[in-house]
Amino acid sequence: MKLDFGDALNLALREEMRRDPRVYCIGEDIVLGLPFGVTKGLIDEFGPDRVLNAPISEAAIVGSAFGAAVTGLVPVVDMHFADFVTCAMDEVANQIAKSRYMFGGQLDCPLTLRMPYGIGKSGGGHHSNSVEAWFVNLPGLKVAIPSTPADARGLLKTAIRDPDPVLVFEHRALYRVVGDVPEAEVLVPLGAADVKRPGRDVTVIATARMVHESLEAARRLAEEGVEVEVVDPRSLVPLDRETLAASVRRTHRVVVAEEGVMRGSAGAWLAWVVMEDSFDELDAPIARVAAPNVPIPFSPPLESFVMPAADDVIAAVRHVLK
């Protein structure tokens, strides 16, 4: 069936809430499904005990989800905008990520944090950032980052069933992207990268919106006879190193493309992984596509300047082919 990314997530939530009565959703404005429609209509099927419209209290939303998760429920938190997680950073970083470890494995924390994020439509500095690297850097969290409706549905379902805390990064520019979604209930495992387009010349490792930009770049480069392989890790923690390494063995040249800023990013980690696993296979230094080291600005020409796109991927591919 054809579904957009947002509706695929909505389907995943419905399926998991039907399957397991412990699953509930909590967040700001989720009864109406604002701002991106992902939770729309859940209230009609599951009622107010399982679709909890919370006050604007991010620490209490995330902290309470932790408390519920360790005592028998399975919360799915809608962060509204991933940027707002800063208001609940103690809860994520010190409580959710660390408790199982600090307590010697006494507690399981089956909790999902849905993180709508990313550049677009002049969201400005508090509504546009790619913050996934913060969480890749926090041991104790799993981090999924789907790029297609099918992956979004399959990864969210896996996240909800996982006994550990999982953050699912949902790029807000993808919500209305339509794709094929299996009729059957298909789970996409964490730690399983996907080759979105095969190619023999250059591997582009890309996440979320940059998968689509990289596919566009690959189409344009194919016209010149350059065959780009686009690999989507789909989860950053755990990371499917083997699929990345297998691709590098085919192409021997790598570009890592992400939307986060260049410095200290998830892409920097991916580039290091490739270097460590595949150094002898590389015929050129790894190139990176990322945003410059500034917050995301408001005005359209400024925003578009910092937003990595297909042209940047093409330039990077040409660079590694030099």
């Binding site: 902290g63 409580q95 600090m102 307590f103 494995g105 006494q106 507690l107």
Partner: protein
Amino acid sequence: MSAPGPELMVEMYAAMLRVRLFEERARELFQRGRIPGFLHTSVGQEAVAVGVAAALRTDDYVLSTHRGHGHLVAKGGSLRGLMAELYGKANGICHGKGGTMHIADVSVGYLGANGVLASGCVVAPGVGLSIKQRRSGQVVVTFFGDGAANRGPFHEGVNLSALWTLPVVFVCENNRWASSTAHTRSTAGGSIAARAAGYGIPGESVDGNDVVAVWDAVMRAVERARRGDGPSLIEAHTIRWVGHFEGDPQAYRGKDEVDEGRRRDPIARLERVLTEHGRLDAAHAARIRESVVAEIEDAVAHAEASPLPRGEDALNDLFAYYPWAD
């Protein structure tokens, strides 16, 4: 005000003594270098931990603080497991990964001490939500200090719990000091109990050195929570006999405050009451002390004899499910 029965009062006396002697022993072991890290003990504050725990069922939950040994001992946690954890031993209750400030004993509902102040205040409503959804009739108590009441999570947690009528009891252990900063210099309005009014829930100030008063206030709050009438806030005024941390020179306060604390010693106070009512005599008190000392010495011997973890054990316990080798 209701009164606890005589057996319960004697049990509370023994429990306070257990907390006191455990903490005193831990201080001594820390000073001798047997316990690593930083140690925050609750000497002088035993009536709060014990008054609360005595009003709870075994399956009720507690969220604790950086000064949490007493809460765990009072809730019935294993002294062996706790002491071995303070030592950083492999068979400590958290396998040496938590230590004094990050300890939990889920088997007695103790969901964790916390190194970050007021963090439990936002976790509590989620535990309350889970209790409500599961219709288990449990309650959750979250302890926090006077200093923590100035953090946002306190307000967010009280608001959410009140809004959703959750079975939570907020217990502020006001020992007058947030580390070295006086309550009077950090807290606008003075009363933390009075903040409850803003959220439309009961707020009560009690003498935190009177275990019966604490027990009574918590009993009423717990009954209210179990009835489904929502949270309460209790501010228990007490006095920290010791420094913020073990080794704190306490240049910020005079000796008179500790003297006041000792004059209002919650254990001596209950002992007087029990003696006056013929519920405890010197021989009985001595037997209780002897038995508590034996339990603690058993825990110390256990901790001393226990093995240290292997360095590579640092890599375990992070996830429940992680078959990947990335």
